[in-house]
């Protein structure tokens, strides 16, 4: 299955989908040393975002989150790619700084069309994803 969206940050990446319907704050919500989601009560609490195609509605919280995404990339704990419903400046800035492909506004709602465990190839430059259903 191929789904088109809006290219925000280009590049190619692939990984296993990790989907949440809750916004993510990288500052305070994700531990950059381990890649684990640490926000109390978050749907993904305890899950690792490392190397995943991370799918969530949008970013939230402090703009320091952009720097955290950059740090995670350097430490090797960052997601491989990010897909948002509708992205915002914190996530977009972090993805540019870190060189992580970012796509939003897919033709199909990614929170419904994609499931945790699906395999996702992200063609950032084309604003296109290819999904292999688990």
């Amino acid at each position: 299955m191929r789904i088109r969206g809006r290219r925000i940050v280009g590049g190619y990446a692939e990984g296993v989908a990790l989907v949440t319907s809750e916004p993510i704050s990288f500052y305070g919500g994700v531990d950059p040393e381990t890649g684990l989601v640490v926000e109390r009560g978050h749907q993904l609490e305890g899950e690792s975002v490392r190397g995943r195609a991370l799918i969530f509605p949008r970013g939230k919280g402090s703009t320091v989150g952009s720097y955290i995404i950059y740090r995670m990339r350097k430490l090797g704990t960052a997601p491989a790619a990010i897909i948002n419903q509708e992205t915002e400046a914190i996530i977009a800035t972090g993805c540019v700084l870190a060189g992580i492909p970012l796509i939003d506004r897919l033709e199909a709602d990614p929170l419904r069309a994609l499931k945790t465990g699906d395999y996702i190839r992200v063609y950032g430059d084309e604003g296109l994803i290819e999904v292999t259903v688990k």
Binding site: Y67, I68, A89, I90, V96, L102
Partner: protein
């Protein structure tokens, strides 16, 4: 194009995409936030050092927001050594990139004053609101990285408050309350932001608002509501351009004294031994003069700390205001403030201030807070 400019352009294009900007436009200056090591952490420090190493250089005038400490007097502030070393590395990285280490949230008080109508890229929410509203320059609420990228590329995406049509009033605020102190202006701003969110208010009933009052108002409404632009009838430069026709049909609120008390009471609890703080936003020369006059001949029994920029400090020192504050037992620090210093690591538990912005953030850091005007502060701190 060098690698650093390419990175900066990539960020600006991506943000332009997010905000549906039609194109990038040239800018005349930048003011960059994200300086305190308390907020940046190692992640931010690494990024800044990497960018400096990559050859990033500001190509337009760029100034810097406050750091987490006075760059010279940090030991006297009780800043841990490890924090200080990393904070100095942050400032050095900016310095290598050609950003002026002004370390103030009031660049417009130290000579960085954009012309009316000029396009700039400012971060620091209080400075954004002041620059748009009082100076009539044009900026969006930039983040640290986007303002830095704009300074490196000399460009910014064209959207939001850069466009004439988005600078029109969206709500009318009738101020019925009598405003007596800068704290009242701060409470007014806090109330407007809480009530209207990220609107563009047209404010009536402030015939005597001066620079310092507008500075307090801007900081507070940007904190509680994300307001980036307001107009004050008869005072701010763009207000004249709007007549009754432009205001017809807009949401209207009126502000009574009770609203100001209510806004202040949200941030006020009973405190035992607070540090009394002035200087959010950084004190102007006039504000320091006032504090010095009130403190002259007094002996403070409690801690009273004043925060300002180096530019203002130098002039205040020359005029003897700094000595007057120090002789009364107060302290004056530069380059930092009570919002971005690591207060908890410094052992602070409570703060009393005349700034809703400072109280708002101190309270979110877990400190007990209370709002109090400068006059009351001096009175209480000397008993």
């Amino acid at each position: 194009m060098g690698p650093a400019v390419a990175r900066a352009m990539e960020l600006l294009v991506a943000l332009g995409e997010v905000f549906e900007a039609e194109r990038l436009i040239p800018i005349e200056g930048a003011h960059i936030s994200g300086v305190s090591y308390k907020n940046l952490g190692d992640a931010g420090l690494e990024l800044l050092e990497d960018l400096a190493e990559l050859g990033a250089r500001a190509r337009v005038r760029a100034t810097l927001n406050p750091a987490g400490m006075d760059l010279d007097l940090w030991r006297e502030m009780g800043i841990p050594q490890d924090f200080a070393e990393r904070q100095l590395r942050v400032v050095r990285a900016f310095d290598r990139m050609g950003v002026e280490a002004t370390c103030t949230c009031t660049p417009y008080l130290v000579g960085h004053v954009p012309r009316r109508g000029s396009q700039v890229a400012w971060a620091e929410s209080s400075a954004v609101a002041f620059s748009n509203s009082v100076l009539g320059a044009r900026t969006n609420r930039e983040s640290g990285p986007s303002a830095l990228a704009s300074s490196i590329a000399g460009r910014a995406p064209l959207y939001g408050y850069r466009l004439e049509e988005n600078r029109r009033p969206m709500a009318v605020v009738e101020v019925e309350a009598e405003l007596r102190s800068r704290l009242d202006y701060s409470a007014l701003g806090y109330h407007i932001g809480r009530t209207l969110g990220s609107s563009v208010p047209y404010i009536r009933g402030l015939p005597r608002a001066g620079f310092d009052e507008l500075k307090s108002l801007a900081a507070a409404c940007a904190t509680s509501g994300g307001i980036a632009l307001f107009h004050v009838e008869g005072i701010t430069p763009e207000a004249d351009g709007f007549g009754e026709g432009d205001l017809r049909g807009l949401e209207r609120i009126s502000v009574e004294e009770g609203d100001l008390e209510e806004a202040a009471s949200r941030l006020s609890g009973d405190l035992e031994d607070p540090v009394f703080c002035l200087g959010c936003p950084h004190c102007s020369l006039e504000e320091i003069r006032e504090a010095a006059m009130l403190l002259r001949g007094r002996r403070l029994r409690r801690r009273l700390w004043v925060f300002t920029s180096r530019g203002v400090y130098g002039e205040a020192e020359r005029r003897g205001y700094i000595d007057a504050i120090l002789e009364a037992g107060g302290r004056v620090f530069r380059d930092t403030c009570m919002v971005v210093a690591p207060l908890r690591e410094m052992g602070w538990r409570e703060m009393a201030t005349d700034s809703c912005k400072a109280a708002h953030y101190a309270s979110s850091m877990g400190l007990g807070t209370r709002l109090i005007s400068l006059r009351e502060m001096v009175e209480e701190a000397s008993h």
